[in-house]
């Protein structure tokens, strides 16, 4: 019922409210329910990927001890861990989860513009997840080609899962892209068309901006993955030679001629680099809102923040080959891509400055979401700066394909967005469930996760400097590494297992809150954005009761001089804001 999105609620609308359990929670077209479905599914596969990483770490830390890990399943673990984390967890969670939940609420609409397609998007996504998980159990197992799925090895003997494994991986990706496109069309259209009255683009919270631009990146970049997946599928099943050159594989000529593995890499990274920002931009946006709300201060340099998001989004399409400096592509490309890559550091740095400057002269409440946000700033600075090493083509020479790369992208694309995910879940939990979580438990969760992950990844960079290659099942004895490198690896494993285990705190907290948590205020953080101003708490189907909200100001009216409260919600008209003494001491 697409008109729900913009028609004001009337009798007819009441009629369409879902009333059975199935229409309410399973085949629901309500963006909030779909968001939760997306979120739970993504977190579920994320936990599988976390388990895989624990097994990899066991092998790396203690190479001689665990009988259930052999090189074959080790490579399957790294492949599936990477693929799940990047695509099926982070992309799905930020866009399918947070995008779905926040866009209509923050834009002041009743739902996504196309609720049915939105529902379909989730179910197709679930199908892609099922295909992905099923590939673990087919003969030969899942693919072990690394998450980049580079041909020829992805479809040549010597790699695990070159039959059904890789076929199901590619099929799952294709299905995921269909799901993403259905969702993405919805997000874009909703942001453009279904904002409530008075909500200009520049009054949108940065969360929406981040998700919106990330969606556009996804819509334009995912086709590259689809094209490369289809072409590889052809090479595998029909024996074409798009990517496959003439080779002698294990002494046998498989009959390919003339293809180019580099072509695949270009296509893959044409998707793969924007993908980094598909994950990062929503995190940028969300963390901006968390920082602003909990520091009781407007986000510093809002316009610059919006334009930084747009510039990063645009530039992200012309930096892809920095993943390929040592791939054997024309080396002269290195000049161009190193330059564009380092240029992208400028808008990114501006975002970091503005987050910190938002805290400056703020009134910082160190509640759980804020802790995670500050943790994010720290890890993101670290991850961003190490990116300058790898982006600078010369320094990439010794560091590419080492643990330095692994440490860098986990810091910037793993830890940082995940800290935002946690911060965001804590922040919006009262809105989603109507209940508060346990603050102390939340703080413990933050400290263990933040310090634990730093203990994993800081030392890992140094193993990379020393020359430990990534994707090695075991190092064995070498001349150039000190023996202590293995001890350090073991210590990293201990930290990793510790961090993985402490995530239990999060689940305990959430389950406790659902059952016994105290009822929360409708607006516990005194936030200005629209999702906290819903008439029902948590918001019901249709979000806004009888009347759509009307927006009169931007999303960051915190601590405005001349007003008693230190926040003015977006839907408060200019003349109705509670004026009063500048400030009376206990807000």
């Amino acid at each position: 019922m697409s008109y729900v999105a913009y028609a004001d609620r009337d009798h007819e609308q009441e009629h369409h409210d879902p009333d059975t359990f199935i229409t309410k929670y399973i085949w629901s077209q309500d963006h909030k329910v779909i968001a939760i479905q997306y979120g739970l599914t993504a977190i579920f596969v994320g936990l599988i990927a976390l388990g895989l990483s624990a097994m990899m770490r066991l092998q790396l830390g203690f190479p001689d001890d665990f009988a259930f890990i052999n090189p074959e399943n080790y490579y399957q673990f790294i492949t599936m861990h990477g693929m799940i984390m990047v695509i099926y967890l982070l992309t799905a969670l930020f866009l399918g989860g947070f995008g779905n939940y926040l866009i209509p609420l923050m834009c002041g609409s009743r739902d996504m513009v196309f609720p049915f397609m939105n529902m379909l998007s989730y179910w197709v996504y679930l199908l892609s997840v099922i295909i992905l998980i099923a590939s673990f159990f087919v003969p030969g197992g899942s693919t072990g080609a690394g998450w980049t799925l580079y041909p020829p090895q992805a479809i040549s003997p010597g790699t695990p899962g070159i039959d059904l494994g890789i076929l199901m991986m590619l099929a799952s990706l294709a299905v995921f892209i269909v799901a993403f496109t259905m969702g993405g069309l919805n997000y874009v259209t909703t942001v453009l068309q279904a904002r409530c009255k008075g909500m200009t683009l520049m009054r949108l919270p940065l969360s929406v901006w981040g998700i919106f631009i990330a969606t556009i990146l996804g819509l334009l970049a995912f086709p590259a993955l689809l094209v490369s997946a289809i072409m590889m599928l052809f090479d595998k099943t029909l024996h074409t030679s798009f990517f496959m050159p003439a080779i002698s594989s294990m002494g046998i000529d498989p009959g390919y001629t003339g293809g180019s593995p580099i072509l695949f890499q270009h296509l893959f990274w044409f998707f793969g680099h924007p993908e980094v920002y598909i994950v990062a931009l929503p995190a940028f946006g969300i963390v901006s809102d968390l920082i602003s709300t909990h520091a009781r201060k407007n986000i510093f340099g809002y316009r610059m923040m919006v334009w930084a998001i747009i510039m990063i989004g645009g530039l992200s399409f012309i930096v892809w080959a920095h993943h390929m400096y040592v791939s054997g592509m024309n080396p002269y490309f290195g000049f161009f891509f190193a330059t564009t890559t380092l240029i992208i550091a400028v808008p990114t740095a501006i975002k970091v400055y503005n987050w910190v400057l938002t805290l400056w002269e703020g009134n910082i409440h160190l509640r759980v979401p804020m802790l995670f946000s500050i943790g994010f700033i720290f890890t993101f600075i670290h991850g961003g700066l190490t990116g300058l090493f790898l982006g600078n083509v010369t320094i990439d020479l010794p560091l590419s394909d080492t643990y330095f790369v692994v440490a860098h992208f986990h810091m910037v694309m793993g830890v940082s967005p995940v800290l935002v995910v946690f911060g965001a879940i804590y922040h919006w939990w009262p809105k989603i469930t109507g209940r508060m979580y346990n603050e102390t438990l939340g703080k413990w969760h933050f400290w263990m996760t933040f310090l634990g992950t730093y203990a994993i990844y800081l030392p890992m960079h140094y193993l990379g400097f020393a020359g430990v290659p990534r994707r090695y099942f075991a190092m064995g004895n070498t001349d150039f590494l000190p023996d202590s490198a293995q001890d350090l690896n073991a210590a990293i494993t201990m930290s990793a297992l510790f961090v993985a285990a402490t995530q239990i705190l999060f689940f305990v907290n959430m389950i406790w809150s659902l059952k016994k948590g105290p009822k929360s205020d409708p607006n516990p953080w005194d936030a200005t954005t629209l999702e906290w101003q819903t008439p029902d708490h948590p918001p019901k189907h249709g979000n806004w009761g009888h009347h759509l909200p009307e927006v009169h100001r931007w999303a960051y009216d915190y601590s405005v001089p001349g007003y008693k409260d230190d926040f003015i919600p977006q839907n408060v008209p200019a003349d109705a804001a509670p004026a009063g003494r500048e400030h009376d001491g206990d807000q």
Binding site: Y150, I364, L385, L397, G467, Y556, H583
Partner: protein
């Protein structure tokens, strides 16, 4: 407050970790000190930003954390400050990028006088080719690759006749001379990395890639594959040995050319039969192996593998470990084979011996063994028949007690410990998969069924 303290401690701790870490760049052994220099600049710039921004962050958390009655300042933006920060960032970025681009310009521009070494990668093995007297490498073609012509050199091409063939994972280069590594792969992507040289490049099937450097230190430097190339990726090792010019020339002269390789006379089984008498004393007249003498079955084993092992014993790569009692015995025995031709002859004779099946002596859980064997099968084949293209010997039908002992030797480093025994080292890495004696027995019990 604890947050601010922790932030400060993390900054200080990170710097201390950096300064005190024993895990850092290996000592440079090439001309690429510029890479290290660019890295240093980047460290200064990023280090400054890391410290400055995080300390400011900590300061904000201390100074502006919520206090009763406090109120935030209202300041939507500050253009001047933002422009300044943008400008300074741009300067910092330029300071890092500019030297990087200059060094890269050097890297893509190979010196005219660089001599060429071709590195050929395959699953999971390195080989090398040097242009002979003519200074030119012969044409190659993936379709010509075979066990007899592992490089796929065009036999019609005169430039290829004098190409020097190194069919093992150890390359030699002379000190102080620029060398261009021309890189080629037979099957999948690989990557040529020597940590001490700082530079690396992928090997891409279907095309030639390159990188260059000038070695500045003599010694043996480990060569690693750093592009995922299948289950054996981590075991694809080799070495680049940097020699003084004289040593290099001597070494190069000992290596066969393509033409010499092709004109090698096949072993003569009849002559070999006369020499086999020494072997027969332990391995039995039919080469069926004699457990009491600790001599394994050799009949039915691939000739190339037998030859490689005999030569390994002769050159001291095998049978030198103090705990390898039986290997040491073998070293004494192979002395009877004077030269490579003698080895060829005796191997040719062994090839004529009947391959009779043996009684199983090792017991184990076949089902578990089969699960373990999936990894072995990548090289040794699902049927255990071995694959010369992968340098993996036949294991089906071999003496099981002997394989058990060898697997144990590989695991404990009794075999494969010699730095030049690349195949043994490789098998040592693969044998990590076998966790404990029971696993060895299980997998051998399964191999017995093949």
């Amino acid at each position: 407050m604890p947050l601010a303290v922790v932030l400060i401690l993390l900054v200080v701790g990170s710097i201390l970790f950096h300064l005190l870490s024993p895990w850092y760049f290996t000592e440079l052994a090439s001309n690429w000190s510029r890479v290290d220099f660019t890295m240093d600049i980047t460290f200064y710039v990023t280090g400054f930003v890391f410290v400055a921004v995080n300390l400011f962050l900590a300061y904000c958390v201390i100074k502006y954390r919520h206090k009763k009655g406090a109120r935030a300042t209202y300041e939507p933006e500050n253009k001047k400050l933002e422009y300044w920060l943008t400008g300074l960032t741009a300067v910092g970025v330029a300071a890092m990028l500019t030297p990087g681009l200059f060094v890269w310009a050097k890297f893509v521009d190979v010196p005219e006088d660089a001599h060429i070494v071709e590195a050929v990668g395959q699953q999971w093995h390195w080989t090398f080719r040097y242009p002979g007297e003519d200074g030119k490498l012969g044409e190659v073609d993936a379709e010509r690759i075979s066990n007899e012509n592992p490089f796929g050199i065009d036999p019609e091409d005169p430039n290829g006749q004098d190409d020097i063939i190194v069919y093992n994972p150890e390359a030699h280069v002379p000190l102080g001379k620029p060398v261009k590594f021309s890189l080629r792969s037979k099957d999948v992507l690989h990557n040529f990395t020597v940590a001490q040289f700082r530079v690396k490049m992928d090997l891409v099937p279907g095309m030639n890639t390159f990188m260059w450097l000038t070695p500045t230190k003599t010694g043996r430097f480990e060569l690693l594959c750093e592009e995922l190339c299948g289950v054996g990726h981590f075991a694809m090792r080799g070495a680049v040995v940097v020699d003084e010019q004289g040593d290099f020339d001597t070494w190069l002269a000992e290596q066969p050319t393509f033409a010499e390789q092709n004109s090698r006379v096949a072993g003569n089984a009849a002559i070999g039969a006369t020499q086999y008498g020494v072997c027969a004393a332990c391995h039995g007249p039919q080469g069926q192996g004699v457990p009491a003498m600790n001599a394994p079955k050799i009949a039915g084993q691939s000739d190339w593998y037998l030859k490689r092992q005999i030569l390994s014993y002769k050159s001291g790569l095998r049978g030198v470990h103090q705990d390898d009692t039986f290997g040491q015995q073998m070293v004494g025995m192979v002395a009877a084979l004077a030269d490579e031709a003698a080895v060829d002859n005796v191997v040719a004779h062994i090839a004529t011996l009947p391959d009779n099946s043996l009684e199983a002596t090792v017991e184990g859980d076949v089902e578990n063994g089969q699960a373990i064997y999936t990894v072995c099968a990548y090289c040794h084949g699902g049927d255990g028949m071995g694959n010369q293209a992968l340098n993996a010997p036949k294991i089906a039908g071999s003496s099981d007690w002997y394989m058990a002992r060898q697997l144990d030797n590989f695991k404990t480093g009794v075999r494969g410990a010699h730095p030049k025994d690349y195949y043994g080292f490789q098998m040592g890495l693969m044998s990590i998969t076998l966790r404990g004696e029971q696993a060895i027995n299980d997998v051998i019990a399964y191999i017995n069924t093949l």
